[in-house]
């Protein structure tokens, strides 16, 4: 009985969590593309003006980033200025929650058919590498190990901490800018 009563609240909390995580990821993608050479190198392989979306099917939370050239991303929030070029779609919010709460690695979610790729698969692979790189920076090592297939052995604590601090600072100032606007 009690479980039945709190279930809507659990669903609401899950939806809010996914929405918040998408907002953080979108902003963090923009931030990491401004500070990390490896991410910039990967992103340069995407066409200029390339729009990437990650969303929950059928019409749930989403974030969109655009490759604005030279390996830099721009976060567009949850609305795309035109049709997206690549969309990674979680089949259900429960699946998005599994990944975004680090109970299931992104690669495992792909293997488990939790997500669909709409667009060029080679760009999806590239974006996944960028997301993995981002996660290794912004998550504590123990959590990041649950999020990515393999934690990079050449990423040492000083680089990780410095990069994480710069990314979080940029994410925070982007949030503030959004609120002010």
């Amino acid at each position: 009985m009690l479980a039945k009563r709190i279930q809507p609240m659990v669903f609401q909390a899950r939806r809010l969590y996914v929405e918040l995580m998408f907002q953080v990821m979108g902003r963090a993608l923009q931030a990491v593309s401004e500070i990390d050479a490896a991410v910039q190198k990967e992103a340069r392989g995407l066409p200029e003006g390339f729009l990437f979306e990650m969303m929950v099917m059928p019409d749930g939370s989403r974030f969109i980033v655009e490759h604005i050239g030279d390996g830099r991303f721009h976060y567009h929030g949850d609305s795309a200025p035109r049709e997206t070029d690549l969309s990674i779609q979680f089949k259900h919010i429960a699946h998005a929650f599994l990944v975004l709460s680090f109970q299931e690695k992104t690669s495992v979610a792909f293997a488990n058919d939790r997500m669909l790729v709409d667009g060029d698969i080679s760009y999806a692979i590239r974006m996944t590498r960028i997301l993995n790189r981002l996660e290794t920076f912004i998550l504590p090592k123990l959590v990041a190990q649950r999020a990515v297939k393999e934690y990079p052995s050449n990423l040492h604590l000083p680089e990780k901490l410095l990069s994480a601090a710069r990314i979080y600072l940029k994410v925070a100032s982007n949030f503030v800018d959004t609120v002010r606007a």
């Binding site: 495992v108 293997a111 058919d113 669909l116 080679s122 760009y123 996944t128 993995n132 297939k149």
Partner: protein
């Protein structure tokens, strides 16, 4: 409770064995089809492989309305449009693909156009675009390797834009796959070896990559056992129809396995090598398989060790200590490649192919990094890792 989850789907009716071709008329009639069109290539026709198919239909009073026998090895949007035009003009109502990967993929694409309408197949490119069942469609494979008869994917080249268009939908799967030993009996030794190693790689990667699941595991192990037991027998006696049938079935089983659990780095490198150096897909698979297994070894030690039972049999498996079985599986595959080299000079290294130059390795590695199969490789592959594997496979 674990997070384990998987999906498995294969609605294709498999019709396999002696006189399987003679089931085609019954199957088509059962699907309400009376005016079939055959899609094939010149090689298949020249080898006389179409004759038993035509005879089987004729004997049952089923008229083949049209035969298109000019599918090129790398099929294009133009070819698909032409065939769809003939299909409509002749008022056909079903398709039979007779051939290897290219003929089968072409027929899948033709089926989209004639079922969904239009002339531009590129409009249907991507995943999940097709929402309705297509026209009745049968596949008669003439190689034992690709597994295309049980996969829901087709790849067609858009010649105008010079890109390969992927089509993915469960509706692309044929209604039935007809596996008859007569169709692979005349396959030359070199192609027999390469295509069988393609199937071996499908099964091995299906069993060791990230999307493995209990159902695909069963198909993969059964396929590996059949290939290990039959391939060299067929190489020594190409007219051995029993073992030809074993290989053909193994190819279909490996196809079912990998289309439900995907493949990994061997395929990523193989696709890139095929695109840059134009080497046959099966050859690339045979070439890279042991090197990639060595690279992935510590991540796949358990499942790879299990494969020894199917590669070498129960005696060798029992006599090999548990912690040495994974290495023994790789040795078994190397031994098989050596035997194939002895029998038909199937290259074991990139250098032996004579078609790859060492300076191309970096380009191959870079292209492989963006291949979709990379996602399912059990180990995270960096560009340096891919280069290192290629270097080992060089000579």
């Amino acid at each position: 409770m674990t997070n384990q989850y998987y999906e498995f789907f294969c609605p294709v009716k498999v019709i396999a064995g002696k006189a399987a071709l003679e089931h085609i008329p019954y199957e088509l009639t059962g699907l309400g089809a009376k005016r079939p069109m055959i899609v094939t290539d010149k090689g298949v026709r020249a080898a006389g492989l179409l004759d038993p198919v035509l005879a089987a239909c004729e004997e049952s009073g089923l008229e083949i309305i049209s035969i298109y026998d000019d599918v090129p090895p790398d099929s294009s949007t133009g070819v698909v449009k032409d065939i769809a035009g003939i299909y409509r003009r002749e008022k056909c109502d079903s398709l039979i693909a007779v051939g290897g990967g290219s003929a089968i993929d072409t027929a899948k694409a033709v089926n989209i156009l004639v079922s969904e309408g239009g002339d531009n197949i590129a409009e249907y490119s991507g995943a999940g675009i097709i929402k309705h069942p297509l026209k009745p469609f049968l596949v008669v494979p003439t190689t034992a390797g690709t597994g295309s008869e049980v996969t829901s994917v087709a790849v067609i080249t858009d010649t105008a834009k010079s890109v390969k268009l992927p089509f993915t939908s469960s509706f692309l799967l044929p209604n039935a796959a007809v596996i008859d030993p007569r169709m692979t009996l005349t396959l030359p030794p070199h192609i027999t070896a390469a295509t069988a190693m393609d199937a071996m790689t499908h099964a091995t990667e299906a069993f060791t990559c990230m999307a493995k699941n209990p159902l695909s595991d069963a198909y993969a192990t059964a396929a590996i056992k059949k290939i290990s037991q039959s391939l060299l027998k067929v190489m020594d006696n190409p007219k051995d129809s029993d073992n030809r049938l074993e290989l053909a079935q193994a190819s279909t089983m490996a196809g079912i396995a990998f289309s439900n659990s995907m493949v990994g780095l061997v395929h990523a490198l193989g696709h890139a090598t095929g695109a840059i150096c134009h080497l046959p897909h099966g050859l690339c698979m045979s070439l890279y398989l042991p090197y990639v297994l060595e690279y992935n070894l510590e991540t796949i030690r358990g499942p790879l060790g299990e494969l020894l039972l199917y590669l070498e049999g129960p005696e060798v498996y029992a006599a090999t200590p548990g912690n040495r079985r994974a290495e023994a599986s790789i040795s078994a595959l190397r031994k098989l490649r050596d035997e194939l080299f002895k029998r038909c000079k199937l290259p074991r290294t990139l250098k032996e192919t004579g078609s790859v130059e060492e300076h191309q390795l970096d380009t191959i590695a870079e292209l492989a990094m963006d291949d979709g199969s990379m996602m399912f490789n059990p180990k995270e592959v960096t560009l340096e890792d891919a280069r290192a594997v290629l270097k080992k496979a060089w000579a």
